[in-house]
Amino acid sequence: MNEDAVRTLLQQLGITLPPGRAAAIAAEIAALGPKLATTPRPAFEDEPVTFQVHASRATTP
């Protein structure tokens, strides 16, 4: 996502960014990509709710 895309997205959401801020956010999100690429991949079947189910299973050991 580049600077223009960030500015346009936030404009659509009704938020006006001060000068320079869109570029900073774009850089911040771009930096996240490589970081997240090194994190363990979820399994194909994993759903967002899996964590809650997994956690609650611990209540009946």
Binding site: I29, L32, L36, T38, T39, P40, P48, T59
Partner: protein, 478 residues
Amino acid sequence: MSEPATDPALWTLAEASAAIAARKISAVELLDACLERIPVWQSATNAFIDLRAAEARHQAARADLDIARSGPRSPLHGIPLAHKDMFYRAGEISTCGSAIRREWRADATATVLARLDEAGAVDLGTLNMAEWAGGATGHNIWFGDACNPWGPLRATGGSSSGPGAAVASRMVFAALGSDTGGSIRLPSTMCGVTGLKPTWGGVSRHAAMPRAWTLDCIGPLARTARDCALVHAAIAGPDSNDPTTANAPAFTPPQAPTHLRGVVIGVETALLDSVSPAIRRPLDGALKLLKSLGAELREVALPSMQALLDLGGVISSTEAAAIHLEQMRAHPDGYATDLFTRMQSGLAMPAMHYLHAVRARAGLLAETRDAVFAQCDTLFAPVIAQPVPTRDESRTHTAGDVGRIHGPLVRMTRPFSYLGLPVLTLPCGFDAAGMPVGFQLAGDTFREENLVRIGMLYEETAGWHRKVPGVTDAQAQG
């Protein structure tokens, strides 16, 4: 075991509760002991946003009548508490530390407050906090910074800044805070008290201000682990008003063990080795004491530590931005600039990043269980890597400051938030400047009892909870 103090305000909650049950002190007398401290300590700490002394006196008098008639109905009956100003009470103002909500009145009462009311606790008022619980330092431009009772120029930690300061200065016996990435653990550690971040889903969040739905936990800051357990027992458990609460077995405050033989404590060596030499000695002292009590210390590594931190950050910023979008649009000037700026990043977060962070969580929890909790009862880790910062050096002005200041503060706390695990923080001494140092004990989901049990024996042996800041600390220049 250390002896109780002569001033009732300096007792632990458990001691105060026992004294009420034995009719050695009334709820009104106990409240008066707390109120006597407030003029000096409120001025020194700015812990309260709204002190409700008259209502508290009425509640205490009613508690005395009820106790005289049929005895205390819980260990909290007649005990003065106050809470972070984000737990709603129908008809009352709840500011959430924000200018936008300076006059906002809630139309429902938080389940946690209703449960404390039912237990007979006395509510002394609302406590300071980071704006919208969105900061790790305790600064607040709208209501003034909360100041650390051990040195007013030092930060309290956040976001439960008022609870940390109010409990440490003995204005109240315990306080509820919330923890999304460290907001109970940071102020409890930086103010030298004990904090319990429960398992995600263990305590109802109904009518409590949300910060990030899948990370938020509500729990106590108190003088001891035993006190935290008494408060947690009153608030924990399923709630039909919050469908995310788990059907976990009821939490019962445990008895302190006489030894820790058979207990395996994992030590996160990489985190421990990363702390400043200025705070290392108290942490080593805590480990030595735990070992002398019989615990086996075993070096372990929290797997995927950096991933836990990064993914937790993605969830935190995205959920917070989603919660705040409407208000950001309507009241852009109602936010502190640094917080408003931080929220903007969450609004632009790609959905794929967020969903990756949410989906990866179950696998990372399983990995952590295999690597740590399959062989250890608890995991020992520092809470912060540096001494308590001054308020000036931890003040944020720009987006860059936010990453530089808040990032390092949550480095050791956010991973456990992402995994939804329970964590107990305990004080373990002071650095050379006289500021508190603490550590955290993390456990597997819904194993709060284990943590409290270890914490109770540790604190009874170490006695750090008996150290109370004096007026000279409050007046010292940092």
